[in-house]
Point group: C2
Chain length 716, copies 2
């Protein structure tokens, strides 16, 4: 069934003609024959069909097509054809076809007496195969996205669909088919023949190219597409249009972004607009933090009423500062920002850090629009407003009103919310997380996540990025930047507002299915980031990922003193998308030599609870030294024979010895015991083993996050 | 379609005849006509049908039934009818029916030349409606369970099914239909008429009664059942039998259990078998813990080689002890346990606490069987073996080799694994969780979770129970005990081994679908327990549930200083099965009076970050005092204006004032800020507000656990 199409070039002209005509007529949807013409122009297979003007036409067409046919009214004035009695399914034989034609036309006239009737579409009836849906919609964050899912009422209820940013390449399109939960159905469950996945992927690719070439196609449903063992064809097409071209967000080149970001993060001179000598003022806290934090560049307090602030010469206006200024930190009330920003622009300062609140977040959109306009005009990029400021430890830079942070390391953290920023600060401090940057993004009036990712990508002082975000201003710019950086460095994202998005008004199934967190989830994964689903996970992933070496393969082995921990650790490994290595017989034999006869080799390797330190040591060493094992998960059980700190020290030593020999494998540990296990966990963490007391799930979740990144970056 | 049956009494005799015949013939499955007879006897509707011996018979039957029919070979020797070419679907008209009969018989003979052929079943063809599956299997843990799910290949892949313990009452059967993810499909998605849920529930109930009455029915599939708007009928029946009656586990009455448990938990005298003066010996640690823990009853050390141990007179054998003994704690090697246990039995000690390992867990099943037999014979109930012992703080009883625990409170914790037991101890100690009991269950050779639940149910010193378990010896006894206690007290269960169960060999779809964690999950919920999915959740739920008052309704309100926390807290509320209250206009108005004009009322109530303590205080007080609000979730943002301890103290004070007025509502808090929020969280927890730093999800998860219990116990 289904006409065959050459996979050759697309007929853009034909599509343009159809769209132009519809738009010229003021329509925002295409008729079925128009939809079919669009499909044909891009080689999307549809069933054989024709337009009949008379009952005799219909009879002739049906005979040509052969078998059963479907008859549908074609009228620009009738959108809901079934409701209008304008559809007949499974008609065959001359008499039936002729009668169906007459009935449909009569029904349409009865439904809407003044409807313009173009004729009746006579279409091959597709039966058999599996119904799927392929579609596209225009997401407010990401623009054109394509969807794939199983069709029918069940999947509409279960919402088993997957999204990707358009355009997709052939491999991505093929991956979508395996990405739905019910993928097995298409592979031929219960003895059925498998569907032609190549043909489905081809349709996804063509649809994706089509909506990319024609941004005015707002929503596009191919539903159902019949997926057969020998091909696929779209039985129904629904296309909705936008009256206007969607607006394009302002874009900067990578070079432009880096030029600004380098000056923002590694400034030679910082001005504080609204610097103050008065304790408790934000302009005072910022000055103190800059000075006490150890920033080595020039600090210029700006205050019209002071000559000196905290020992630094003060200036009435930034215009009076003698040298170049890289960053202007604003600590003045919102209403004074526009004028001060103008002066900052006139001084050619490339970056303004806008701590003040009182802009869009309080409903004052006009004021925010005003400063954005000033920034654009004068070439000043804005961080904020409504932020706590930012830290950049390689420069000892604490441009914030919070307290200084001084544990240097490779973790860059950003947050859209100030509250979450403070949680980041407290968590990092209490866990001694080594940090390169903590950046508040607030209202994101200008600089946002993609600018930061572009900077962190080439920043040698940063090796992992963790971001809290509630929305993305420009989803495509984010995905571009994320796809680049995640090839080199892990990015963890906590996307808040997962469950609160609610449904959007949509005119297609695809549009309706896009109305929840699923689009974000799929496209964040497509961008290579590791998504955290809770604040604590984001923080622990950021802390733990840089501590763990990158695994070189999927073989995870559990070595445990507590059988009970082994079972829970196994659960966690499966929950986190990893799998337990099947231990080959020679390796099993080798482990057995070290453990009591009633201990269990296999995986988990249960060394049993009463064992001395030497048993932990021998099995962990074997786990590290055998090439076939790629990651170790340790379960420690507190006993008098092997107390917590003894376990911690021996483990740290064995891991260090292996690392000296060039053996780099991630090792995580869960410690079950009395309160001494807390100190032991901290000791282990300090020695490169991600360890936690009283939880089997957290160490495995961190390992899982590292694995997710390692896979998406192609290390495994 | 489908014959109608009276809902009257069941014809047990007819079922017994069918089963007896099949079993007498050595068969473990029923033929289709036998399956149909069984269904008829219990009023389960099936399509009209009959057995044809000749082609003419078949033609006559088809004419009687009307419409299309299905023909199926009936042969005890052919199990896979389709494979044998023994099924024809959608046959109509005399000629077709006659030809189909001949073809089927010929196919069957070709497939298996010596097959006994009883004839050909001629059955009404059911079309339309939604296919569902209703079934039953014999679970190794829970015995007879019934299943409901949507039928067809999709759901087989997605495994969208739900299980309940049989027998089910009418309400439970009805609840199953709403409990699957795709429940909407049956309610009439996409404009379809809703299926007759009453008819489906009726079939579930009848099937459940049937397998309860006839335990030899091992597996039972009604698949598919066609669910129509006006009824339902089972199109295909598959019944598998057990050659033998399933064995019944040993059962004790509640009175018997309590008699033993009361003496175990509140003993007047404890003997320590293998007590020792030698440091480092388990028999020495147990003695020290009993004495230093402050146990006020008699302590009898038993050791053939000592006269006195730690200042207590020692006895050669327990038989020499002058008075009654309630508990014998064993601290001797495994091989000495049987003889010592015999002496304990002869002394009429009702409970033995078996710390030693070296039994089933090391493969020594014989030794374990031996002690179980001795215990049964002599009336000694066994705790363990292979355990750390147990704590019962109301008696200052530390009958364990671990260190004493002395923070008294209402939480009883149990663990199957010693390692997890140690994690419980360390966690409880570091968080100062108030504990009534910590009990090791180990190999569960005798006493197990249901015995403990029976005790804790009536123990005034216990108000919440948390259990770690890997399996249940007797799932039904557990469910019975859990259903009783959870009406009064929350029970949290961490079931380990969720993901490792793998598939079981099964001869029916129902059996195959039962081969994972789903049975445990559904039946634990049916039993009223709150399931925790991680060790840390179990521990935090146990700690937090007794701190929170029981909510009186579903209206949860978030009051937050950080908008970012508000979004994450909202996510967590939905994730944990709660919902944000829709704030009525008058209440919204009342909140707005306290917050800045740009703050957001609604829910979350965002008081904004720069507010003084008085704003937190006024809004929290209003949240407590308004009757329509049932629970508060607080989001705190660390600022100079309202530092962490100021927030903690004012919140504790306002909550205490409300409680003095008799206003008991659960209040939880998430604190975002620098490290001072840790101290503030501890302060809040100590004052009855479940509070955590650096996480928005944990406080909401604990509130969610309390809600799950409150709902299942009927408080909401």
């Amino acid at each position: 069934m289904g006409a065959e199409y050459a996979a050759s070039g697309y007929d853009k002209e034909a599509v343009r003609d159809v769209l132009d005509k519809a738009l010229a007529e003021g329509r925002d949807s295409l008729t079925a024959p128009e939809g079919r013409r669009v499909c044909e122009a891009y080689g999307i297979p549809t069933p054989g069909e024709g337009l009949a003007s008379t009952a005799d036409d219909a009879v002739r067409l049906a005979a040509e097509l052969g078998g059963e046919v479907v008859l549908k009214i074609v009228s620009p004035d009738i959108l809901h054809k079934t409701e209008a009695g304008g559809v007949k399914v499974g008609v065959s034989g001359d008499a039936e076809v002729s009668a169906a034609f007459d009935e449909i036309v009569a029904n349409a006239k009865a439904y809407k007496s003044d409807a313009a009737i173009d004729g009746v579409q006579v279409q091959q009836l597709l039966r058999g195969g599996q119904e799927v849906i392929i579609g596209s919609t225009t997401d407010p964050t990401f623009g054109k996205v394509v969807l794939f899912g199983l069709g029918g009422v069940l999947v509409e209820v279960l919402k088993d669909v997957t999204f990707r940013l358009a355009p997709v390449d052939a491999g991505t399109a093929r991956g979508m088919i395996d990405d739905i939960k019910a993928a097995e159905v298409l592979k031929g469950a219960r003895g059925a023949e498998p569907a032609d996945a190549g043909a489905l992927a081809d349709i996804i690719k063509r649809l994706s190219d089509l909506v990319t070439d024609f941004p005015r196609i707002r929503e596009f449903d191919l539903n159902p597409v019949f997926a057969r063992p020998d091909g696929a064809s779209a039985a129904d097409v629904r296309i909705l249009l936008d009256a206007e071209e969607p607006a394009q967000p302002v874009q900067y080149s990578q070079e432009e972004i880096l030029a600004t970001m380098n000056r923002l993060m590694r400034p030679s001179a910082v001005a504080v607009i609204g610097a103050s000598s008065e304790n408790g003022k934000i302009g005072n806290s910022v000055m103190k933090n800059l000075i006490n934090g150890g920033y080595a560049g020039e600090i210029y307090p700006i205050n019209p009423k002071a000559d000196e602030i905290l020992g630094k010469k003060a200036y009435k206006s930034i215009g009076d500062v003698p040298g170049d200024v890289d960053v202007a930190v604003f600590a003045v009330p919102a209403k004074f920002v526009p004028q001060a920003l103008r002066e900052v622009g006139e001084k050619n300062v490339p970056a303004a850090v806008l701590i003040p609140s009182g802009f869009a977040e309080t409903g004052n959109h006009e004021l925010q629009d005003e400063i954005v306009k000033i920034g654009r005009e004068l070439g000043v990029r804005l961080l904020g407003p409504n932020i706590y400021g930012y830290y950049y430890t390689p420069q000892n830079l604490c441009a914030t009103f919070c307290t200084p942070y001084d544990v240097k390391g490779g973790v860059a953290l950003t947050s859209q919310s100030g509250g979450i920023g403070m949680a980041i600060l407290g968590f990092a401090r209490t866990t001694k997380t080594g940090v390169s940057a903590i950046v508040g993004l607030g209202n994101k009036s200008d600089l946002d996540e993609d600018d930061l990712l572009t900077y962190f990508e080439q920043d040698d002082d940063t090796n992992v990025v963790a971001m809290h975000l509630e929305d993305l201003k420009d989803g495509r710019a984010f995905v571009d930047a994320a796809q680049r950086i995640t090839k080199k460095k892990p990015v963890v994202v906590l996307k808040a507002g997962r469950t609160a998005m609610g449904a959007r008004a949509a005119g297609s199934h695809t549009g309706a299915l896009a109305g929840d967190d699923k689009v974000y989830d799929d496209i964040l994964r497509q961008s290579g980031v590791v998504r955290a689903y809770s604040l604590n996970d984001m923080l622990e992933f950021a802390r733990g990922i840089p501590v763990l070496p990158t695994p070189k393969g999927e073989n995870v082995v559990i070595i445990t003193g507590a059988g009970g921990s082994g079972v829970l650790l196994s659960d966690a490994i499966v929950d986190n998308g990893m799998s337990l290595m099947e231990i080959p017989p020679d390796l099993d034999e080798a482990f057995r030599k070290f453990i009591p006869p009633f201990g269990a080799a296999g995986n988990p390797i249960d060394i049993t609870g009463g064992e001395p330190p030497s048993t932990y040591e021998a099995t962990i060493r074997l786990g590290l030294e055998d090439d076939r094992i790629h990651a170790l998960v340790l379960g420690y059980w507190h006993t008098i024979v092997t107390p917590p700190m003894v376990f911690a020290e021996l483990t740290a030593r064995v891991v260090a010895e292996a690392r000296e020999k060039g053996i780099e494998k991630p090792v995580v540990a869960s410690l079950a015991g009395d309160t001494e296990v807390e100190e032991a966990s901290t000791y282990l963490y300090d020695h490169g083993i991600v360890a936690y007391p009283y939880t089997t799930e957290k160490p495995v979740a961190v390992l899982g996050a590292k694995y997710r990144w390692a896979r998406s970056a192609g290390h495994i």
